[in-house]
């Protein structure tokens, strides 16, 4: 049990532990990112990363195989990549394709490489791969015109191939989900021929901005998406076997007391955690009949 107190003086928008649970990154409206070392019950501030020119909304650690690397995104429209080397932190890249607030970033499944997904209020999402020799041209997609609030990768999945010219019988299926200010949730799929992501499905259901989307990492053959919205509801979307229609299930009949802000699946996909404006973190799981029931609440 570790309790990091008063990490920032202003609003803290995100706090993420690295893969090994040794590094904690926090980001804030104070435009900084703080890196703490966590060991047992102790912690220690290692560095404060300065570079963003606006509130930093989210941070995300890359897979350790790439090194100790952190991505951050900010109201300033930029995505910055930071690296710790020999105990020292530095900014190693900057990804500035968006013209408005970048609201979420997420590293892709490590099998894809050092690939980052960013969603921005300019209505676009970008997928950019950071290669050894420098950044590759990012793929930029018009996702939700009014603005994209969140984007989340699907787990790496192998599917039946087309037995095309390359002779292989299997293919990679790369998808991600986005949630927008147009109240929509959209699913995107990589298209090899055009080297870009194309719209796979548009899911209607929310009546206000979608604030967060999360794709479950569950190993079961059913895909689960969770979308939370300012309309005070959470919708679970499911699809069988990577194709076909998405089935919509309201998490619960009644609305939540306040807006819902973040959604995240446990690593097994067994439990969904929601955080909302009522200052609660509620936990949810599916029951035998396929309805969602409370799995408890995270108490302060």
């Amino acid at each position: 049990m570790v309790a990091i107190t008063n990490a920032h003086n202003e609003l803290i928008h995100d706090a993420v532990l690295d893969y090994y649970g040794k590094r904690l990154a926090t980001c804030s409206s104070d435009k900084t990112i703080k890196i703490f070392e966590v060991e047992g019950e102790n912690y220690k501030l290692i560095d404060t990363l300065i570079g963003h020119e606006g509130p930093v909304w989210r941070v995300d650690w890359a897979h350790p195989k790439f090194g100790t690397i952190l991505a951050s995104c900010s109201y300033d429209g930029k995505v910055l990549i930071w690296k710790e080397e020999n105990g020292r932190w530095s900014q190693i890249a900057s990804h500035a394709v968006h013209s408005a607030s970048v609201n979420s970033i997420q590293w892709a499944p490590h099998e894809y490489g050092a690939v980052l997904l960013a969603a921005a209020s300019d209505g676009k999402v970008s997928v950019v791969e950071f290669k050894e020799n420098g950044t590759l041209s990012p793929i930029i997609i018009d996702a939700h015109a009014i603005g994209v609030n969140s984007a989340s990768w699907a787990p790496a999945t192998i599917i039946q191939g087309n037995n095309g010219g390359d002779g292989k019988n299997v293919d990679e299926l790369r998808r991600f989900v986005t949630g927008g200010a147009d109240n929509l949730v959209k699913v995107w799929k990589y298209n090899k021929e055009n080297s870009t992501y194309i719209l796979d499905d548009t899911l209607e259901g929310h009546s206000d901005w979608v604030r967060d989307v999360a794709w479950s990492p569950s190993v079961l053959l059913r895909s689960y998406l969770a979308s939370v919205s300012q309309d005070r509801s959470c919708i679970i979307w499911t699809q069988e076997d990577n194709e076909g229609p998405w089935k919509k299930t309201e998490l619960q009949q009644e609305k939540f007391p306040d807006v819902l802000w973040r959604a995240s699946w446990s690593l097994s996909g067994n439990i969904l955690a929601l955080s909302g404006g009522d200052n609660k973190v509620t936990l949810w799981k599916e029951n035998l009949e396929g309805n969602w029931e409370s799995a408890g609440e995270v108490e302060q």
């Binding site: 107190t5 649970g21 060991e39 569950s218 067994n270 973190v281 799981k285 029951n287």
Partner: protein, 423 residues
Amino acid sequence: HQPIDNQALLSRQFPIFHWTNSNKVLYGIPKNTGSNYGSGNSLECINIVNYESSIQPNLVLKSFVGPLINGKTRVKDLEAWLDNVIDDLSSKDPSKDLTVWRLLRLQLSAKTTLKDISSVLYDSTQLLAYLSQPLPNIELTPNAFKIDQASQMKVLSCLQTGNHNAALQLSLEKKDYAMALLLGSLAGKNKWSEVVQQYLSQEFTATAPEQNEWANLLSLIFQAFIGNSKMAMDKFYRNSADGHWAINNWKQIVAAVLMNVNAENDSTPSNTAKMPLVVTEFLLEFGIFLKQKSQDLAASIVFMIARIPLSLSPVMPDTMFTFDTIGKSSTIESCLWSEVYEFSFSSAPKFAGFPCILPQKMFHAYCLQEQGFISNASKYCDYLTNILKTQPKTDITVMNLTLSLTDLTTRVSDSNTGWLTKP
């Protein structure tokens, strides 16, 4: 509610919550200080705690004696675990439906009979009080028909000329169903079924609204045993009142059919596949009906009783419904049930398991690691590694599961090594 001020939201401190790769969670929950607006209200505390401090671990998952390996796992241990779970669950909530648990417990034993299973679905001893009540002594007044002598002679002549159909027709015209049934029994199985069918449809039609639905059950039992289950289901599909009754009373229905498998047929243990064919047919048809009406868990229980293997193939050639999970597959109970159900088939000759539950087993392993049951998670990783080796490498699901297993195995061994940093 007033329209949301999107911009203002960006100035609010929302709770933070993240899962972590080790089995800890990170959270920060702002204090409720009346007004949540305004800057300066930041998160006082970011906590990193063990999973179980924050979230109630699943004790059933923890105590499970899996992975269930044929020849290694002792059936007694599994039975004891099931008994404990059943005791626990029923003492915490006496109204909880424990049918699947009890059914699995029975199915592990070779001595279980269909009557035992019937009793799990529906405890018919509650009827004994009713049965002990004497019936009102109604005087018998003729209300049915027996053929007259002249017709009897005609029936005999028909039989002497080998004309069963004419003999039957005559009896049915005269509404002498006893004679018709006897004649049907002479004429072979198909004719017998036809006569029973006609008798039931004539004598058991629910004509008046107050007609007891339960007359349906009597008719259904007879139809099941003449192999007419498919036809018997028709009524449930076509008539919504009957359909609802069937859904609401499915346990009593199945229990009644099982209870009537007679001693000649019931000498074989019910965890083998030697159930009378007509009963299997009934269970399949009824299960499909329940599936059609979205009663998935009930359908699963019915298929379990019929000892249908878990598989991605349709349960019958002319249907699209499959039996690949018991209850929603993303629940821990469902995973445990699948594994126990699979294990109950261990003694079947050349049994190679149910490949379709591999994802559930993987999910099970993930949950173990997530909730901090690292040694069990490790056992499952070994177990799954061995299973995947036996599966065809070109199977897509196998490929995906192999990837998932690699990730999990790494995570598990990282947990075990504690805080060592990887280079």
